[in-house]
């Protein structure tokens, strides 16, 4: 994503604060996969994979990988106590029924009203939606972790998405290297500001309108 390891972990760490014991959580690839590194030891968060796992644990040690125990991205995982396997219909039943408490995923664009575009660049990249539409539309809380701008310096937090949507009005929170935005009924609210970015810099870098929280949290370097 073009962000350094330190910033990626800063974003992941902030996302981890949104998760509590007992929650069912689905993580996308990229920065979201770093979130477990920032959870307290001994937590009881159950990680969900679309292929059919509830209760994924940490990555296996090298040489301990099992080709038949992988996450939805196809990479080896382990399971924790209380885990179970199911077929993909049941894994998606959990999603559609709204039992996934938090999903954390990447995005190409997020709009002021929470529309999400994260799966297709017409004429360029058409990988298919996979499970993104199901997750975005039905998870109780959708958290987007992304670069604030694309590689051309264009804001990814937009007034209105120009790319085809994954789902409408589904995003609850966006975390970028500059800060944290909550999608409120009236629009975006900046709740957290990450140094070294100033409010002015964030405004200039953001196409979308946003309000600033009266209880804005400012994080140091």
């Amino acid at each position: 994503m073009g962000l350094g390891a330190e910033i990626r972990h800063k974003i992941a760490k902030r996302a981890a604060m949104e998760i509590r014991d007992g929650m069912l959580v689905n993580l996308g690839i990229g920065i979201p996969s770093l979130v477990p590194d920032h959870l307290p030891a001994g937590h009881f968060i159950m990680f969900h994979a679309e292929n059919g796992i509830v209760g994924m644990g940490k990555s296996p040690d090298e040489g301990e990988e099992d080709a038949h125990l992988c996450n939805a991205g196809g990479y080896p995982v382990t399971i924790r106590e209380g885990a179970s396997y199911c077929d993909s219909t049941t894994a998606f039943g959990m999603i559609r029924k709204g039992l996934v408490d938090v999903t954390i995923l990447g995005a190409l664009q997020v709009s002021e009203n929470g529309d999400l575009a994260n799966w297709i660049v017409p004429g360029k990249r058409v990988p298919g939606m996979g499970g993104a539409m199901d997750l975005a539309a039905k998870a109780k809380k959708v958290i987007v972790l992304m670069n604030h701008q694309d590689k051309h310096g264009i804001s990814k937090l937009v007034k209105s998405c120009t790319l085809p949507l994954t789902a409408k009005r589904c995003v609850h929170m966006v975390i970028t290297e500059m800060g944290v935005f909550s999608v409120m009924p009236g629009g975006l609210l900046l709740t957290d500001q990450f140094s070294p970015y100033t409010i002015e810099e964030i405004k200039v870098s953001t196409e979308a309108e946003f309000e600033i929280s009266e209880s804005l949290t400012i994080y140091g370097e």
Partner: protein, 234 residues
């Protein structure tokens, strides 16, 4: 261990050739290649059949899983939720050599299951606002809510991978390699299971069986995968 072939379902790969032909539809189990039956994919490659319609979660990787058939241009059409891990699929789609129908993953697996369960389809609100999903599908109103009509998927032949089978075709899967296999196992007019191990009748606990043998027509023993997984490639 002597296995009685009581139901005449246990066979060799070479006994299965007559089941395959140009233009047929093949549903496959697996997710990113994991749980896709390697020996059956190779058999299809060797048979040099073409113009296939492939139905399954994704197109694997270029040399992993069903991806091998895609790379070798055996498919004219694919119904899947994701083709991103196999660049050949995207390339052939762009050149018009491959037709791709995208279905959201949760919808796709329910359509596969519906085919196996003898249903006509299912109703879901996933993708109702997205043109690429909605396309020319019918919608239906139930009270205040609107749903897309998503049709059942079946296939001439289903190919699946399992960890254990008995001679009746009862199947037990292996961890996350279960994924879409139980669905594909039910949705084929003919279902072939490639399995790591064939055990005598009665050796599987009746509680642990995931796919009842009723759905399985042929059982072959697997020689394992002949590809390197992406995470093994250094």
């Amino acid at each position: 261990m002597l296995i009685q072939n009581t139901f005449q379902k246990i066979c060799h790969l070479t006994d299965l050739k007559h089941l395959f032909e140009d233009g047929m539809s093949i549903m496959f189990g697996g997710f990113g290649g994991i749980g896709t039956p390697p020996g059956l994919v190779n058999l299809i490659l060797e048979l040099a059949i073409k113009d296939l319609t492939l139905i399954g979660n994704d197109t694997g990787f270029p040399h992993i899983g069903i991806g091998k058939l895609v790379t070798e241009k055996r498919a004219k059409r694919i119904i899947a939720s994701h083709i991103g891990s196999n660049p050949n699929a995207g390339r052939y789609m762009t050149t018009g050599e491959l037709e791709v129908e995208f279905s959201p993953q949760g919808t796709l697996v329910e359509r596969m299951r519906a085919g196996g369960m003898g249903l006509g389809g299912i109703l879901t609100d996933i993708g109702l606002d997205e043109e690429i999903v909605k396309r020319d599908k019918q919608t239906i109103s139930l009270g205040e809510k609107t749903f897309l009509v998503e049709t059942a998927l079946t296939a001439d032949v289903s190919i699946v991978y399992a960890k254990k089978a008995d001679p009746f075709g009862n199947l037990v899967y292996d961890k996350s390699a279960r994924n879409t296999n139980p669905l594909a196992a039910m949705a084929g007019a003919v279902t072939i299971a490639e399995v790591k191990e064939i055990l005598p009748l009665g050796a599987l606990s009746p509680e642990e069986i995931v796919t009842p043998g009723v759905f399985v027509d042929y059982i072959v023993e697997s020689k394992g995968v002949d590809w390197q997984w992406v995470w093994e490639q250094k």
